[in-house]
């Protein structure tokens, strides 16, 4: 960076102006004001709006045919084939204790990857990609965890977005492969 006139530089700094670097002159002012924003995919489950970090979302697809797998929890809708790859598909609503989703035109499957494993999450509607300031995230009300609700583990934080409550989910708690198989069949397996 070529050094601008020292006096001018200081004056600008004091005025609080943001000074563009030389690289930015060259590449244009595409700089975001902040780089700590969390980008999330927001979607609807019943009447609630939820969100998960976009870095986990590999793709968003229309619903595809899913084969039920016996001996699994009710929220496991089954296994589907997406471009030759088999992946478990979960009903996110029933997983977090809401009434199970029914498929509509707006229904989508979020394909998320956790530790390079892919999972499909069925949601009622994908709404938006939002950028949230970390400081706008609020802890979930303590009453949730005090009530011993399973859901408390699933909620990572709360935020407000255009006047509506946005529930940020803790993806790794929601998608736990060890929980897919019904408990009584999980025990059985150990004997084999």
């Amino acid at each position: 960076m070529s050094e601008p006139d020292h006096g001018l530089w200081q004056a600008l700094l004091q005025s609080g102006e943001v000074i563009a670097t030389e690289a930015e002159y060259e590449h244009g002012y595409s700089r975001r004001l902040r780089d700590d924003l969390v980008r999330m995919v927001s979607f609807r489950l019943g009447a609630e709006i939820h969100a998960i970090p976009i870095r986990h979302v590999r793709e968003i697809t229309r619903c595809f045919s899913v084969t039920a797998v016996p001996r699994t929890q009710a929220y496991v809708r089954g296994v589907g084939t997406l471009r030759g790859e088999l992946l478990p598909v979960l009903c996110l609503a029933s997983r977090i204790g809401l009434s199970p989703a029914s498929i509509s035109r707006a229904s989508r499957v979020l394909v998320v990857s956790i530790d390079s494993d892919a999972f499909g999450l069925l949601v009622d509607e994908v709404i938006d990609v939002v950028s949230l300031e970390p400081e706008s995230l609020r802890e979930p009300p303590s009453v949730l965890s005090a009530a011993g609700s399973v859901n408390s583990d699933f909620v990572f934080a709360l935020a407000r977005r255009e006047g509506k409550l946005l529930i940020v989910l803790n993806l790794t708690a929601v998608v736990n492969p060890e929980d897919f198989v019904m408990a009584k069949w999980r025990d059985r397996q150990g004997e084999r």
Binding site: F64, S65, V66, T67, A68, V69, P70, R71, T72, V76, G78, V79, G80, T81, R83, G84, L86, L87, P88, D117, A118, F119, N176, P177, E178, D179, F180, V181, W185, R186, R188, Q189, R192
Partner: protein, 732 residues
């Protein structure tokens, strides 16, 4: 990382090659024959190459190990160290060290092998064993032309002396090969000569007859006469003569050892030298004889020797070895799996395509292109199938490698147990999917351990029983249609089925009443039952609490089957039947609880149709009668909590075998039989008991593959939780 892995697998191959040579050497030794010097040399070369590779990747103390081992083998092949039982033991121990070091390199949690103590052992024993032949005793090589002697390696010189010392004649063959066919020609000639004697060396000759030919001088040591050797050269452009090896050869000491090689005392020798051109050859490659060439030896002298270095290192390695290495490619299995997946998808798409055309046909009746389209899709289908078969081919490996490992186990264990055991192997070329071979080696090893531990008797008992003192374990692989059969047979004491039955009763595995009605075959199958062990004292190798039930489970996991036959005093035979490949299996598509499933055809004993009215109950358990035996039945929809199909009269039953049990699985319908590509269900769902995977059938339809063994064993356990006597009906 990948290059490291590649190097490791290369090292492994070489170690296996080395071990193979050792086994052959040992086989020859125990057969009372002199070990083939080529085998010792092959072992030496494996280690020599290995030394080169390990010096590039840092794997434990393998560099030091390879170095010492190379010295040791060099001493052996030069006769400076005896090749006896103890040095063979040492060499076999090295194989284990290599294997352990590799295992440690791949999985650092494995134990670090103790190379250091081995190194001191190999040095100690080496020092204790002086050369077998002192210098004075050595056969003189004065008769050999100095120029030839100077290019012989120490090993070649040693072999030459050994041959003369052993009373064999030394022959010189001058042979000319077409430049294009030189590699093949050398191999061809070598294999012919090997039957008659030992190829001591071959030197490029300066006597090139023509520009497009390469001439070689080959020294051969043989106990055969000249005529026999010459007969073997039929078809080659070659000439042969016997060399005057000085005092040792009878009646021959003319004192002109350098040039005058041809003998005139024997008529056959005369016949050869008759055609000689009398030309002296260039020193570096010349052997002491005059050329008696059958072919034209006039031409362009010196041209043929171009590119062939006369140095001692250069002549040892024939040029073709480099080529064969380059033509091999190592591929990770996962890459082939990816290709296989793609082919599976292609087939699915092709199926969709065919259906679309069939639908279009109704609306486009009479359009000629539709017909063409039909033909083209069929062609495509054929090509896709071909592609699939080719990819499967690539995954196939001969079982021989695994057999070699087992041969080492036999050797080691028979020593430990002080028993004489010979392993007879056949069908090593039989090919199986690499994955299956990997999964198979543990069960097979276990069976062989059992055979040595419990099967083969001690020498004293064998002699008392009038059997040959050496026990025999036979390992045979052969392909039978779409599956491979592997037999493991021993000629040991066999199993007494009455004793097995008693044990099962005392272990509480079967009731006294059940035992009473058991046939010998059923009783023998008891060894596959969990918790059954024939020896109370746990022996070192096979009694680790796992038994034949684990073997059976592992075989079943590979969609295979295992059966046993045994006769007291005669021996025991295990027969394993395995699918050739795992990626694609033959499946029976069924319907149960309103859902489609497929089951591996290999685990279906038979499928039947029954009337509902034929079902009877034994103390509350439903059975149907199959060939006058009661077959207990379980319902797929009940097992999986699926909605029940409203009952009409008929039901379908798949008969599944599990250990000594036969169980019928009731399903709604049998749909079709087809080849399917099996995939894992992915994280979480792969742990569902009773489901082994899934496949795609038709347009994006995923169908689950049932794990029949798990389903039926669950069902059997449910029977078992009731009164034990209720299981009565389950004996097939």
């Amino acid at each position: 990382m990948t290059s490291q892995l590649t190097a490791l697998s290369e090292i492994q191959d070489l170690v296996e090659e080395f071990s193979r040579s050792l086994l052959q050497i040992e086989a020859e030794r125990s057969g009372g024959r002199d070990s083939d010097p080529d085998l010792v040399n092959a072992a030496f070369r494996s280690i020599h190459t290995l030394k080169g590779i390990v010096s590039m990747v840092e794997v434990g103390q393998l560099v030091a190990l390879s170095h010492e081992l190379e010295n040791c083998l060099d001493d052996i092949r030069l006769g400076k160290r005896a090749l006896d039982a103890s040095s063979l033991d040492l060499l076999f121990a090295a194989v284990d060290l290599y294997t352990a070091s590799l295992a440690h390199a791949v999985e650092p949690s494995r134990a670090v092998p103790d190379v250091t103590s081995f190194l001191s052992r190999i040095k100690d024993t080496g020092a204790a064993r002086p050369a077998t032949r002192s210098a004075e005793e050595q056969v003189s090589l004065d008769w050999l032309h100095e120029d030839v002697r100077s290019v012989l390696t120490e090993y070649e010189e040693f072999r030459l002396r050994e041959n003369i010392g052993g009373g064999r004649g030394i022959y010189s063959i001058h042979v000319s090969f077409d430049l294009m066919d030189v590699d093949g020609g050398i191999e061809r000639l070598k294999s012919k000569l090997k039957k008659l004697g030992e190829v001591l060396t071959y030197l490029p000759s300066a006597d090139a007859s023509r520009e497009d030919r390469i001439d070689l001088d080959i020294l051969v040591g043989s106990g055969e006469g000249l005529e026999v050797l010459r007969a073997s050269l039929t078809g080659e452009t070659a000439s042969i003569e016997r060399l005057n090896t000085g005092g040792r050869s009878p009646g021959r000491d003319e004192g002109v050892p350098v040039v005058r090689g041809h003998e005139s005392t024997r008529p056959d020798d005369v016949a050869i030298t008759d055609g000689g051109s009398g030309k002296r050859r260039a020193p570096p490659s010349a052997t002491p004889r005059e050329v008696g060439s059958v072919a034209s030896s006039v031409g362009l002298p010196g041209a043929g020797s171009a590119g062939s270095a006369p140095g001692s290192e250069g002549v040892e390695e024939p040029p073709q070895s480099i080529r064969s290495v380059v033509q091999t490619v190592r591929v990770e299995l996962s890459r082939l799996d990816a290709l296989m997946n793609l082919v599976g998808e292609l087939r699915v798409i092709q199926g969709d395509f065919t259906r679309t055309i069939a639908r279009a046909e109704n609306t486009l009746r009479g359009v000629p292109e539709v017909r063409t389209l039909h033909v083209q899709t069929r062609q495509m289908a054929r090509r896709i199938d071909e592609l699939r078969d080719r990819i499967l081919d690539v995954r196939m490996v001969p079982v021989g490698q695994m057999f070699d490992t087992l041969a080492r186990v036999v050797r080691k264990l028979s020593r430990e147990h002080g028993k004489e055991v010979r392993l007879v192997v056949s069908g090593e070329q039989t090919e199986l999917d690499k994955l299956i071979v990997e999964e198979l080696s543990d069960p097979l090893m276990h069976m062989i351990r059992n055979a040595i531990d419990h099967g083969i008797e001690s020498v004293e008992r064998r002699s008392a029983a009038g059997k040959s003192l050496t026990g025999k374990i036979t390992l045979v692989a052969r392909q039978r249609g779409n599956s491979v059969e592997i037999r493991v047979e021993d000629d040991g004491q066999g199993m007494d089925w009455l004793a097995l039955r008693e044990r099962a009763v005392s272990r509480g595995l079967v009731s006294r009443e059940e035992a009473e009605v058991m046939t010998s075959i059923e009783a023998l199958r008891l060894i596959f039952a969990p918790g059954f062990s024939t020896l109370d004292d746990l022996s070192r190798s096979s009694g680790r609490g796992v038994g034949m039930d684990v073997v059976k489970t592992n075989i079943m996991r590979l969609s295979g089957q295992i059966d046993v036959e045994s006769e007291v005093g005669k021996g025991t035979l295990f027969r394993l039947t395995l699918p050739v490949t795992l990626a694609i299996i033959q499946a029976l598509v069924i319907e149960g609880g309103g859902q489609m499933f497929c089951v591996p055809l290999g685990s279906v004993l038979e499928s039947l149709m029954f009337e509902r009215s034929e079902i009877e109950t034994i103390e509350g358990f439903e059975v149907i009668s199959l060939r006058s035996e009661a077959l207990p039945i379980v319902y797929l929809d009940r097992i999986f909590d699926l909605p029940r199909k409203p009952g009409d009269g008929q039901l379908y039953v798949i008969v599944v075998g599990l250990a000594e049990h036969r169980v019928g699985l009731v399903v709604d319908d049998l749909l079709e039989q087809k080849d399917v590509v099996i995939k894992s269900l992915g994280p979480g769902l792969d742990a569902v008991p009773g489901v082994a995977g899934a496949t795609e059938i038709g347009a994006g339809k995923t169908v689950l593959l049932l794990d029949l063994a798990a389903i039926v064993s669950d069902a059997v356990r449910d029977f078992g939780t009731g009164d034990r006597r209720r299981v009565e009906g389950m004996r097939a």
